[in-house]
């Protein structure tokens, strides 16, 4: 049996402050699959992540996005989250005075309430996070600290994966989760992600470098250049990019655009 399509992006155009950044993205992600989106700086990778999560700085001028068969773009950011869409932020935000545990319990309870499940009290939640925190090798002391405040770069990224482990989303979008990580931290983050792989959970791993994909092995690799997916392939495409860089595809894309123009 074919796995269900989790996410379907059709001819997505998105702009910020009047500048179009995504010029028609098409992508189909089925449950259980891991897709990597690679591309040079400024190609629109983070824009894609933000549009999927519902950041209102971006205007979608054309195209549509189906999420579990529903129109994703019609949903508010919190509704998307409650429906199981998770974004691991490239730059996780600090919330002074709000403990990581308190924040995460509010988040999980919002999700559970939406699903008609009972809410966690402080004690049972603490038990849950103690298990999950091991998964990403996060120091337990970070649970009681304010959300991301005073965390190192690596701790912030691991904290994102920790949030993901607790919230158990259906679609995980990882926005440059590898940036700023040393090799040990990278491995820990990747191990955390791998342990969350499951037949009913899909991943969209956005990265500039092939490095992360040594650890999180994707089923599909897509190359995003100038707001379009110019090539898709298996995990070997990432290795090819590692050797050749993006230039050859950029030239191809430019030539293609010229021919169309």
């Amino acid at each position: 049996m074919q796995p269900a399509t989790q996410l379907e992006i059709q001819d997505l155009h998105a702009s910020v402050d009047g500048n179009e950044i995504l010029h028609g993205v098409d992508l189909k992600v089925a449950a259980g699959e891991v897709h990597a989106i690679m591309g040079p700086n400024g190609s629109g990778k983070s824009t894609l992540a933000q549009v999927l999560a519902g950041k209102d700085d971006y205007d979608v001028s054309a195209g549509r996005v189906l999420y579990g068969g529903r129109d994703l773009l019609e949903m508010s950011p919190e509704e998307r989250a409650r429906e199981g869409l998770f974004l691991a932020f490239q730059y996780p935000v600090e919330i002074p005075g709000v403990s990581n545990t308190y924040f995460l319990r509010a988040a999980l309870n919002a999700v559970r309430k939406h699903r008609g499940q009972s809410e966690y009290d402080a004690l049972s939640f603490l038990k849950l996070v103690r298990e999950k925190v091991k998964l990403v090798g996060l120091d337990e002391s970070l649970l009681q600290r304010p959300v991301n405040e005073g965390f190192s770069g690596g701790e912030k990224k691991r904290n994102e994966i920790f949030h993901m482990a607790v919230l158990e989303p259906r679609l995980c979008v990882l926005d440059e989760t590898d940036s700023g990580l040393d090799i040990d931290a990278l491995r820990i983050v990747a191990d955390g992600v791998n342990s969350l792989r499951s037949p009913d959970r899909a991943f969209l791993v956005i990265t500039h470098y092939q490095r992360l994909l040594d650890y999180i092995v994707p089923d599909f690799v897509h190359v995003l250049i100038d707001g379009r997916i110019v090539r898709s392939g298996g995990k070997e495409l990432a290795l090819e990019l590692e050797q050749k860089g993006y230039a050859w595809l950029e030239n191809e894309a430019a030539a293609g655009a010229g021919a169309r123009g």
Partner: protein, 482 residues
């Protein structure tokens, strides 16, 4: 931004939940203030001659004074002759001897406010004195406190039954001629609470007063006096609410605290007077003088306030650090939403050696709210080794509101250490989006972020009230994000 602005519209229209009026028979003076009014008021309360004279001197002084205009607030002139200076539930003039004699309608009002007067139902360990318009209605736990020598009673009763204590301390921290509103209060104060904790006694429970303005066109002028003798300690909390009315009402209270050697007083306020509607119509003018005197060495006074109500707040809980090694603390959260204005802060005067002062002020402005922190630190020549730390943080929600800080520092002794930190932040769209992305809606996100911002102050409040304060803050700021 469309989702957010919709939320604002929906929530800005939410009602102030304490805005009901109690239908109760009132005994009210006709509007106006002169010597006759003061005499009549004093007589009605069965006050001794010295008290009447004290009031009359304050009135004479008030009549020579001008309303202060230096505060960063704007309002139409107040007609002091249009205000009634006394309103009391009629059944209370006979003075209830026990709770059974209190008008049941009044008891229901306090029930609605969540203040159970019956001792059985009272929050464990909290003794409550309730002031309805101008009179104290009931004081719970009185007998138990009495066994320890603690006096906790309405001010009017203290004047009759403990005149020597009242005479010694009344006006000793805030003299009747201190300022315009304090002079007015001194002339016409109707009731309030009196607390006396004798030498070496630690008050075993939170003492609490609940103030309620009910009658129309009346002012409320409570007078509270708390004295902690050597080695004594007490924690006191006041809460306030008022009905929703289109016209503004004046509340001009005076609170005096006296801490002798090694005594400590903690005074916490959760102020939720009616703030007016979203267009700035109605609401309470809260013009209050609160001051504590650390008279003895190693004494300590802590002011904690959460100011969410009132159309206008004019309030500077202060400390005079007279005793050597005395400590003054001020923790404040002031919220202004819609058209509310607050000019609040603290003043401290270091007189004794090695006196310390800690100030943490959190101002939150939303809607068209204007929030001013005004602080004065004065270190006099004799105050060797004084230390002062001030932290003033402002948070802005939306772009129509304002935050202002006016710190005044006057140091006359070179050994003083002064630190002042100030910050202003805008509640970040990125923070809200981060919360949204985790499934938390905008309203809960704002309340979470703001509560995090105020955490240092909330943790100074007694437990039950900290929870109350957090809820109050959430209600005050509902729909403020745009």
């Amino acid at each position: 931004m469309t989702t957010d602005s919709r939320t604002i519209e929906e929530l800005a229209t939410r009602d102030y939940k304490f805005g009901f009026v109690t239908d109760i028979e009132q005994e009210t003076f006709p509007p106006g203030l002169d010597e006759q009014v003061v005499r009549r008021l004093s007589a009605l309360k069965g006050e001794p001659e010295w008290m009447t004279e004290w009031r009359l001197r304050a009135l004479a002084h008030w009549q020579t004074m001008k309303e202060p205009t230096w505060a960063n607030v704007r309002y139409d002139p107040i007609d002091y002759q249009a205000i009634s200076y006394y309103a009391a539930p009629r059944s209370a003039s006979g003075k209830p001897r026990s709770l059974d004699e209190v008008d049941p309608e009044l008891l229901r009002t306090y029930e609605k406010l969540g203040i159970p007067l019956h001792e059985r139902g009272a929050l464990a360990g909290v003794a409550v004195d309730a002031v309805f318009d101008s009179v104290s209605v009931a004081t719970t736990f009185k007998a138990r406190l009495g066994e320890m020598g603690i006096i906790f009673c309405p001010m009017s009763e203290a004047i009759r039954e403990h005149p020597e204590l009242v005479r010694r301390y009344l006006g000793s921290v805030v003299p009747p001629n201190d300022n315009f509103f304090a002079a007015l209060n001194s002339a016409v104060f109707s009731d309030g609470s009196f607390v006396f904790v004798p030498r070496g006694v630690k008050c075993p429970m939170e003492l609490s007063t609940y103030f309620r303005i009910n009658a129309r066109n009346t002012g409320q002028f409570e007078r509270t006096l708390i004295v902690a003798e050597a080695g004594a300690s007490v924690s006191y909390l006041e809460g306030c609410t008022a009905p929703m009315r289109d016209e503004n009402q004046l509340h001009a209270a005076v609170v005096e605290l006296v801490a002798l050697d090694e005594a400590s007083i903690k005074y916490s306020t959760v102020q939720n007077w009616y703030p007016g509607d979203k267009d700035g119509k109605g609401g309470i003018y809260n013009f209050v003088t609160k001051r504590g005197k650390c008279a003895g060495r190693h004494s300590k006074i802590t002011w904690t306030q959460v100011e969410t109500g009132s159309a206008i707040t004019w309030k500077y809980p202060s400390c005079i650090l007279q005793g050597d090694d005395s400590v003054g603390e001020f923790y404040s959260v002031a919220v202004t939403n819609h058209r509310q204005q607050a000019d609040t802060g603290t003043k401290m005067i270091h007189l004794g050696k090695n006196t310390r002062r800690n100030i943490v002020s959190k101002g939150i402005s939303a809607g068209h709210g204007q929030n001013t922190y005004r602080g004065q630190v004065k270190i006099l020549r004799a105050a060797e080794g004084a230390r002062n730390f001030s932290q003033c943080d402002s948070m802005l929600i939306g772009d129509q509101c304002g935050a202002h800080t006016f710190p005044y520092i006057d140091v006359q002794n070179p050994t003083a250490q002064m630190e002042h930190e100030a910050s202003t932040s805008k509640i970040g769209e990125d923070q809200i989006f981060y919360c949204n992305q985790r499934g938390i809606d905008t309203e809960d996100a704002v309340s979470m972020i703001v509560n995090g911002f105020c955490k240092e102050v909330f943790r100074e409040l007694p437990m039950e009230f900290a929870v109350e304060a957090q809820k109050l803050l959430a209600v005050s700021l509902e729909g403020s994000v745009g």
